[in-house]
């Protein structure tokens, strides 16, 4: 046996994750101390912690890419940016959670530590090339989400969603574990970098492993045919949890998917066609099923399926073209996260006295009751549709280019077609918020103040900032001075 040496630990790399975990602990301690009137202190502690983590991550962007803790944790641009997205999404969710939870009569301060730990799980998942670390991250992310989904204990829908999510998530985890075991069988290692050096005879096992991993990740990303939990869980879970789930879990899973798929390039002939069809099906099912829904949260659930398809197209295009430039996928993730958190924040306005109206009719007259919410909703929906100059447009444009570069013209066409179809239901949401139907039950709108206001404004602003700063962000992702598309109003 070789000599055991103490692993060298680069604390700066681990710092953001550690900070988020400790913030979660601190939030739990505050909760245990039982603040009587409100959870403002918990929110404050959480936000401060997340701010610290974000600061660390921002300082990471310029640092060289390294691997630490015996190769368990990576510090690279992909990881740092996805971690930044996770931290941002968590902060934005926490910002608007307090008023929502109160109005929904969900008085669990436990939401905050759970969200923070979930985020930490996502951060672990996003920054490791080690399959077991990815698995642990995934579990940490998921278990928190299972609990949070069932947070509204009095509602059967919430319970149902938690149970469904848990059951199906357990299956997905099992598949993922199978995949990891097979990977180990094929390569003798659980580090993704070992895939390239897999022996010739292990191809079959490696392929099988890739299939299993796709099932596991497909579940988290909500790709067809592993998508069916999405609308149910999105609808049933408390709205702030849904916002977190939609953005954070997708971002972390996408990061893991990028790492895993990149590693499996040696057997890409076997799994690429499958992902190709999964992408087409996801875009089609997501966009078309949403057309006939009556509940806004369900619509956004299907929209998340379609968006997962778009992200998959970007990943596939980047892998196929062989340049390993995932800027399109990552940029789109960032854009999608901002818009989707914002959209759910808008919906959270309808909560009042323990109930919540999430059908289209329930949004009627929001323009009058909560003009800020309705106004920012325009930004989110327009960004999701992809109307310039909002960020969604540039995101879709980049994906389109990436797909075409990778030779997936047909995927690009499906993307464009389903985007057009999806415009319908996004506009329908917008229309509902602005409709002044006198006969309809008026929106029960909570006042838009404090954290909710901040969250809405930040999300809406970021749909613009991300568009005008597209250059800078893509440069940060690619780490190169010359991005593929530069359309910006920056003065350089």
């Amino acid at each position: 046996m070789e000599q055991w040496t103490m692993p060298s630990i680069d604390w700066t790399t681990l710092m953001p994750t550690i900070i988020v975990i400790l913030t979660g602990c601190a939030a739990l301690i505050v909760e245990m101390l039982r603040p009587k009137q409100n959870n403002n202190l918990i929110v404050g502690v959480s936000l401060v912690g997340l701010g610290g983590a974000a600061y660390c991550l921002l300082s990471h962007l310029g640092l060289p890419e390294i691997s630490t803790l015996n190769g368990l944790v990576e510090r690279d641009r992909l990881g740092s940016i996805i971690q930044l997205v996770l931290v941002g999404v968590t902060a934005l969710t926490i910002l608007f959670s307090e008023p929502y939870l109160r109005n929904k009569r969900i008085a669990f301060g436990e939401f905050y530590p759970l969200a923070l730990w979930s985020a930490a799980g996502g951060m672990v998942m996003a920054s490791s090339e080690n399959l077991l670390m990815i698995f642990i991250g995934l579990e940490l992310l998921s278990i928190g989400l299972y609990c949070m989904a069932g947070l509204s204990r009095e509602e059967t829908k919430s319970e149902e969603s938690a149970l469904k999510y848990f059951l199906l998530g357990a299956f997905a985890s099992a598949f993922l574990l199978y995949g990891i075991a097979m990977f180990f069988g094929a390569t003798g290692s659980i580090s993704l970098s070992a895939a390239a050096g897999a022996p010739e005879g292990a191809q079959g096992l490696l392929t099988l492993s890739s299939m299993m991993l796709i099932v596991g990740l497909g579940f988290k990303l909500a790709l067809v045919p592993f998508h069916q939990w999405t609308p149910d869980v999105y609808q049933g879970a408390p709205t702030n949890v849904t916002a977190f789930m939609a953005a954070a879990s997708k971002a972390a899973a996408a990061a893991a998917a990028i790492r895993i798929f990149s590693a499996f390039v040696p057997v890409q002939d076997f799994w690429m066609p499958i992902l190709y069809w999964m992408a087409i099906l996801s875009m089609a099912v997501g966009s078309f099923s949403a057309l006939v829904q009556k509940d806004v949260k369900r619509v956004l659930g299907y929209s998340s399926i379609a968006n997962a398809g778009y992200i998959l197209v970007a990943i596939l295009g980047a892998i196929k073209s062989g340049d390993g430039n995932f800027a399109a996928a990552i940029y789109y993730l960032v854009v999608y996260s901002a818009a989707t958190v914002g959209a759910f924040a808008v919906i959270s306005v309808t909560a009042k006295a323990g109930t919540e109206g999430t059908r289209f009719e329930d949004l009627h007259g929001m323009w009058k009751k909560a003009p800020l919410a309705a106004g920012t909703l325009v930004f989110f929906m327009a960004s999701m549709i992809g109307i310039p100059p909002l960020a969604g447009f540039f995101g879709k444009l980049l994906i389109f280019q990436t797909a075409v570069n990778g030779g997936y013209v047909d995927l690009a066409i499906v993307l464009a077609a389903t985007s057009v179809a999806s415009a319908f239901y996004y506009l329908r949401i917008m229309h509902a918020a602005f409709a002044a139907d006198e006969t309809a039950i008026p929106t029960q709108a909570a006042p838009v103040r404090g954290g909710l206001k901040a969250s809405l404004i930040i999300c809406a602003a970021s749909t613009l900032i991300l568009a005008f700063g597209a250059n800078k962000i893509i440069t940060a992702i690619e780490g190169e001075p010359e991005p593929a598309v530069t359309v910006a109003l920056t003065g350089e």
Partner: protein
């Protein structure tokens, strides 16, 4: 490729076969004579009453879960300790620190469980009633405020 796994497969097959054979044989071969005495409660047992498929208080699950948590902790500690004893100083420091962190987190969890009265059988709710109110801002603009239900906030 798969040759290496053949012994495991054989082992699984043998184990499954053995179990099946043993259970089946005892069921087939064993004599089955039912008498009232055999069906009666053994010695000082209590005579059964009611339906066995009864709803169980959810508290049982909480206690069970906590028990499982303790179990898992012991499993971890046990396996850690066996390695720890024979380790070098470096290994002791490293693994000791890791386990310490683990234990701290675990204690935090336990403290939380105690604090929310998870094992306190009679405890009703762990929620502060004040937190079940709407946001204070909400009261300012509704008829509930006029009805005097508001305790916080006030007109601007």
């Amino acid at each position: 490729m798969l040759e290496g796994f053949l012994p495991i497969l054989v082992l699984i097959a043998v184990a499954a076969l053995l179990c099946t054979v043993m259970v089946t044989l005892s069921w087939v071969l064993g004599p089955k004579k039912k008498t009232p005495y055999k069906a009666a409660v053994y010695e000082c047992g209590v005579a059964p009453f009611g339906d066995a498929n009864e709803r169980v208080p959810v508290k049982f699950y909480l206690v069970a879960i906590l028990f499982v948590l303790f179990d898992i902790e012991v499993v971890f500690l046990w396996s850690w300790l066996t390695v720890f004893k024979s380790g070098t100083t470096d290994q002791m420091i490293f693994s000791g620190a890791a386990v310490l962190i683990y234990l701290l987190l675990w204690i935090l969890g336990d403290a939380y469980a105690l604090k929310v009265n998870a094992i306190d059988w009679d405890e009703a709710t762990s929620i502060a009633p004040e937190k079940l109110r709407d946001t204070p801002a909400y009261f300012e603009s509704t008829e509930e405020a006029d009805a005097g239900l508001s305790t916080v906030g006030g007109a601007q």
